[in-house]
Symmetry: C2
């Protein structure tokens, strides 16, 4: 192998007359008998190379055996193409390279699929042959974008005096949060490490150490049942700062986001970003990560319909629930009664028992299955409350408040997509603030931290930690982009007494708190500075920046929904001897009897 | 908490007259009754702040309760110090800040040790209170240096068109290499992931994908019994490139190293770096990572002493071993007979049965326990071979060659340290090349890869892979700095047939090779480019750059020699229910009977 003089994609008319050595893959080959054209591809792009009798007959005859995805080394002269053959679609389109020397560095057998974006592929096949899937132009671009994104984040944070510090991967299992991945210890019989769900405790300890501004692009792990947008291992941009107030932190993140979107997508976004409190986000959009690129806000009807003859509404309210609705503009004609009734099935996904609807007709009357429960005045009130016009359809959900939020929140998003209400190339950032600090976990019969146990309560709510824990708001903030939660953070507790109060509110006994988090409680007594931070999901950020919808497309070697790697077949069985070293034995789970 | 206007360390005479807000830790406090001085410290350095009656009596009285490591927020005016009080040792030494407003952000109780470099601390105490240990100036500087080093590496590699791509942490266990850390799968009963020992397979697959230039600062894991310079998890600068020959790769690494040493230590190093073949390194220095900052090279004496009357020598040679020696200049006076005899114990660590020595006296005669075995001519020959002078001591090791290398290699280093032969601030880089591809593993009764199974044999040796495997040299190279192996790499096999031959030489059956590495063999058939790479141990690199000798001092939260974290107490026991979910049971190891 020689050293190449140029990459394929960089050749232009400037190199005409020069001798070049190129290396790359055969993207396409056209054999016209006397002449063979090959599009030679490398990471930088591709260029047309030409073989013919006049240039070199040996190279031509070698080129006859070449096939797609062979790896070639070629030498020749850059020449101008006939103007009629210019290809304006590619940067190298005005030139080609006349090849007088060809070496096949490695052949390729027939591929399981063609290396094109357009290929419609089963995802399992893509994952099994991930090394080929990653050759497709869009996958290449996504990985390049990911690499540029992380570089940009690092450059930005280091400009702001943040230091990257690595924290352990083999760490301690804690009872809070999601399920840990465990790693058996060979040396300490029967003991386990846990892979980190986040570097939370270590980054707080680094604040105790006085590093003041820490970040890490950190791998994190959660052993949860996977959804489309989850992976067992994921990457987090993890940031923590001392002596930096919430407002300054948010402002800094806004600069980072603005710069990123500008440099990577050429779009200007306005800072400061919008802010919504959690209550506002839920009440207006039915979501704590609302997509505010379109309206269709939730309308509260509880007061208005509580006396209506429609039992579903009145009894929902009587049972402590609510009735809310959204107005979808101008679909009365295009959505049939059947279409609308079918949305009930969609609503059920979110726990609703059904979805009532009314069309507004040309006479400004409401029509539909439940119209009969509303007299003329009630109808007119409804139209007024919804600010509805002829042609609109009104949807209603009646249930406990969380179900109503979830249902209408999802319905809004569904319609926005169906009706193409979303401007492309829009980056709609917003902050959601003042989350509840705690939520009651019915199953466990205790309060759980909404964010995590180290989040600071809002100052004026601190006194309710003992008395009305569910009313305490957190000094927490989520960064939302286009309806996705990009990440979240909070100002942290840094006083032992307050942290102990928090553990108590979470139902920890004093001993449990000490056993699990004693080192943190101790650390808080040795001069811990006020601190706070944020963590962003890098995979999701890249997904949005790359205009993709599948999180797996942003990860070089992702896992399937059952946490398998189809390429390497991980996880897999291991020899008995290895388990013996770990003092472990496999004990098959009991199957539930009725299966 | 307010927003600080300055950091402590940045204040100079330029700010005289300005009002500033500072936040930081009490480094030192001197209470003179009417006036209190505090050295206030943050990450940037420290500055003297002053409280007295005239400035503000309330602040003065608050300052009376302040103790070491309290976290303070202070406001006041920057003033010039009396010239007699200038402290030239610190950048802020000409000024101080007159404080009229003090807020204690967080107090601190008495510390288990003082925050000073000089504190002589038991390492276990340092690790238990790592968050305090990390406040010590040298630890701060080391972490800052580490952060700068990784930033510099990233900047350099991205200038060279390398992309950072993340590879999985939950991957497949393979039988080659060190012992894996295993991670039980919950979803796939009885199956395990392995934490990566390196991203080797994935980085090669990325080459198959056409990314051409990949790097990653990657966490790697080995479940081995730990020595002082090993950690169960460590960080590797992992680099792989296609279409880049060995010479170009080595040259690039030399630029990176030169830039790093220049920017971080202000030292110019000369490129190209020296190169030694493996054979040369072993024969001259007794080590494949020789410290060439000093001479004291190994001298081969086998021919010369094989007929000597000293049985230890003659029988070592008769048994296929060798006799080699080193000459240590000018220590005959200062090392007593007892000192020299005691070195036998040192030699035993390396497997030698003893260590013979001879002193060269003023008359150019050799004296010592074995002198009697050498007649006048033999003595003179010895002195000549060693190029020895009066006052030197000659050391001899007689054993199988590896033991002789190990013993004398270690002895050289020991003397270089004792005799302070090493120039400080020297960065002596060199490449060791042409390692053996395979070595015979007596225990396993098969050949093992010296580097790893993906390393390319030297072209002209390929044909010996079937016939004389132990003679095949590898296209491998190690980067050595000051006697430490910084890292190593190789050009890789990229052809299925050659890779299969290699697996065969390692004793894999066709089925085993397919079962373990089938995906790689398959990948090689779809147009895999020639590629190679290198990996550097970041922890060790930082250790050398920071002039430290303990690898743990370069890692924020390291593990002990028994792979424990003394701060968090990882690993620890987990609830039975968690093991049930993983279908695992702890099965205590059988103790060996005679214990």
């Amino acid at each position: 192998m020689k050293q190449r003089t140029h990459t394929c994609g960089e050749l232009t008319e400037q190199q005409i007359g020069e001798r070049v050595i190129l290396q790359g893959w055969v993207k396409k080959r056209r054999d016209l008998g006397q002449v063979i054209f090959i599009d030679l591809r490398d990471r930088s792009g591709h260029v047309q190379i030409v073989f013919n009798e006049e240039i070199d007959s040996k190279a031509l005859s070698q080129a006859e055996d070449v096939r797609s995805e062979f790896v070639l080394e070629v030498e020749g002269e850059v020449v101008k193409r006939d103007e009629t053959n210019y290809n304006p679609k590619i940067p190298t389109g005005n030139i080609e390279v006349s090849i007088d020397h060809l070496e096949v560095l490695n052949p390729s057998k027939g591929l399981p699929f063609v290396i094109e974006d357009e290929a419609e592929l089963n995802e399992d096949v893509r994952l099994k042959y991930r090394y080929l899937d990653l050759r497709r132009p869009k996958m290449q671009q996504t990985m390049i974008l990911r690499s540029r994104t992380t570089k940009m984040i690092r450059d930005f944070l280091e400009e702001q005096s943040f230091m990257e510090i690595e924290t352990p991967m083999l760490t301690k299992s804690t009872p809070e949060g999601a399920r840990d991945y465990l790693v058996p210890s060979r040396v300490h019989e029967g003991d386990f490490y846990a892979l980190p769900q986040s570097p939370q405790l270590f980054k707080q300890l680094l604040m105790v150490s006085g590093f003041e501004r820490y970040f890490q692009i950190a791998r994190c792990f959660r052993d949860e049942d996977l959804r489309a947008d989850r992976q067992p291992e994921f990457t987090q941009v993890d940031i923590e700062a001392s002596f930096l107030g919430k407002e300054e932190l948010l402002k800094m993140m806004e600069s980072l986001m603005s710069r990123m979107v500008k440099e990577l997508r050429g779009v200007e976004v306005t800072a400061p970003f919008k802010r919504l409190t959690y209550d506002e986000a839920m009440n207006r959009f039915g979501s704590d990560k609302p997509d505010t690129r379109f309206g269709m806000e939730l309308v509260d009807l509880s007061e208005q319909v509580k006396e209506s003859g429609f039992k579903v509404f009145s009894s929902a309210i009587a049972n402590g629930g609510v009735v809310k609705g959204i107005c979808v503009k101008g679909i009365a004609e295009s959505y049939s009664r059947k279409d609308l009734d079918n949305l009930g099935v969609f609503a059920e996904i979110y726990g609703a028992k059904g979805l009532a609807w009314l069309k507004v007709n040309a006479e400004n009357e409401v029509k539909g299955p439940i119209a009969k429960f509303f007299d003329e005045e009630a109808q007119s009130n409804l139209i007024h409350t919804f600010d509805a016009e002829p042609g609109d359809v009104l949807f209603f959900a009646a249930d406990k408040i969380q179900t109503v939020w979830d249902t209408l929140g999802a319905l809004r998003t569904k319609f926005a997509k169906e009706l193409k209400l979303i401007e492309p190339n829009t980056f709609d950032f917003l902050w959601v603030t003042q989350f509840p600090l705690l939520s009651y976990d019915e199953e466990e019969g205790r309060y759980a931290a909404e964010h995590h146990p180290f989040t600071r309560p809002v100052k004026e709510d601190e006194k309710m930690l003992d008395t009305n824990p569910e009313q305490v708001r957190a000094e927490a903030y989520d960064l939302v982009l286009n309806g996705y939660e990009l990440g979240g953070g909070s100002q942290r507790i840094f006083e032992r007494s307050l942290q102990e109060k928090m553990f108590k509110a979470l139902g920890f006994s004093e001993e449990e708190a000490k056993e699990q988090f004693g080192f943190l409680l101790d650390a808080f007594e040795y001069g811990t500075p006020p601190h706070g931070g944020i963590a962003l999901g890098l995979d999701r950020l890249v997904m949005i920046l790359a205009d993709r919808t599948n999180l797996r497309d942003t990860i070089a070697f992702p896992k399937t929904a059952s946490a398998s790697c189809l390429l390497t077949n991980a996880p897999s069985s291991v020899e008995e001897a290895k388990l013996d070293e770990l003092s472990l034995k496999i004990k098959p789970k009991k199957k539930p009897e009725n299966q």
